[in-house]
Symmetry: C2
Subunit: 200 residues, 2 copies
């Protein structure tokens, strides 16, 4: 309470290194991003990559799942500003964020956990869902509802189904599209195709 006044009295002794903590989380995200699954992620590998003793990890997190959960908490879903001019335009903006991120390491990390390990680590998945999925879902819901209200979309539109179509299509591409299919106009093509429908 005397010097730095951080609100709570600093406990005696050497303070925990903020740098070490960041290095640990960074190493964890890197490894998961490189395709290492949560189950085969080893604390020792994380410690080695972070240049840190295992002690330093266990002092902060009691187990692997706890650590990964906190690492995921550092991820943020970058929500683009929506122009709000047309539903079509906003949907393209939202989907294009997914496309752009599809090649990023962090995103692959996210996808791998969400897709493959959601069954086995439900608590982990839940945390991640709230952080990375929910904000985007909410944004898209609002765009679709707006379109339904102002006549851009069918008045009887099934919003949940529409979301599954849009997101599912982009998911399909990011997972199996390879580099070649993630062209700059992909989001636009998806949205147009989905809005217009396939029927003649």
């Amino acid at each position: 309470m005397t010097t730095t006044e951080t609100g709570t009295a600093r406990p005696a002794g050497r303070p925990r290194s903020e740098k070490a903590e960041k290095a640990i989380i960074e190493a964890t995200l890197e490894l998961v991003g490189e395709g290492v699954s949560v189950s085969e992620l080893s604390i020792e590998a994380i410690a080695a990559r972070a240049g840190v003793g295992k002690t330093t990890i266990y002092r902060r997190w009691s187990n692997k799942e706890d650590l990964v959960a906190h690492a995921l908490a550092k991820l943020k879903a970058p929500l683009p500003p929506l122009a709000g001019v047309s539903v079509r335009e906003d949907l393209i903006t939202l989907l294009d964020v997914m496309r752009t991120e599809a090649g990023h390491v962090r995103t692959r990390c996210v996808m791998n956990i969400a897709l493959s390990e959601s069954d086995r680590y439900p608590q982990l998945f839940e945390k991640f869902r709230m952080l990375a999925i929910e904000p985007r879902r909410q944004a898209m819901v609002e765009v679709l509802e707006r379109g339904r209200a102002n006549g851009e979309l069918r008045p009887d539109l099934d919003v949940a189904l529409a979301m599954a179509i849009l997101n599912g299509t982009m998911l399909w591409h990011t997972k199996w599209g390879g580099e070649g299919l993630l062209t700059a106009d992909l989001a636009e093509r998806i949205v147009d195709q989905v809005l217009q429908g396939l029927a003649a």
Copy 2:
């Protein structure tokens, strides 16, 4: 050559148990279907579940990947007969197979490997792709091409994109839809929504 005449002369000694082999493969598929990834799949767990000695496994397959590859070879993509009356009807039939299978162990097995392990076991994934994905893909391509030719669909339809939309939407549901969303009319709703488009 004397008795059962199987074409090639039977080597002396006790013949390999067909039952054991089936049990091993069955156990492998079960485990993968339950969400055990290939990397954490253990020969010991397979042997225990199959009620078999490890020797019996190693006598047939030299390593884990080899075993899994052979196990996958036992999977078949059940292709429904297509009525061929309308594109809409055939698409519903195709998608409804996915929906029906969504809860089956075999299908979960397929999904888990396809989604999570395609990066790390490309050779495995390739084998699996030919067996489980390609036949369905081909069937759907034909339906869509037919529709484009006979005027049911837009003449300038992007078939690849249309497939991504249809399959991606169903994938989204099977992975995240939970039990509640996989209703009997799901395939129909998807196809209708996609064919008509979302726009007013």
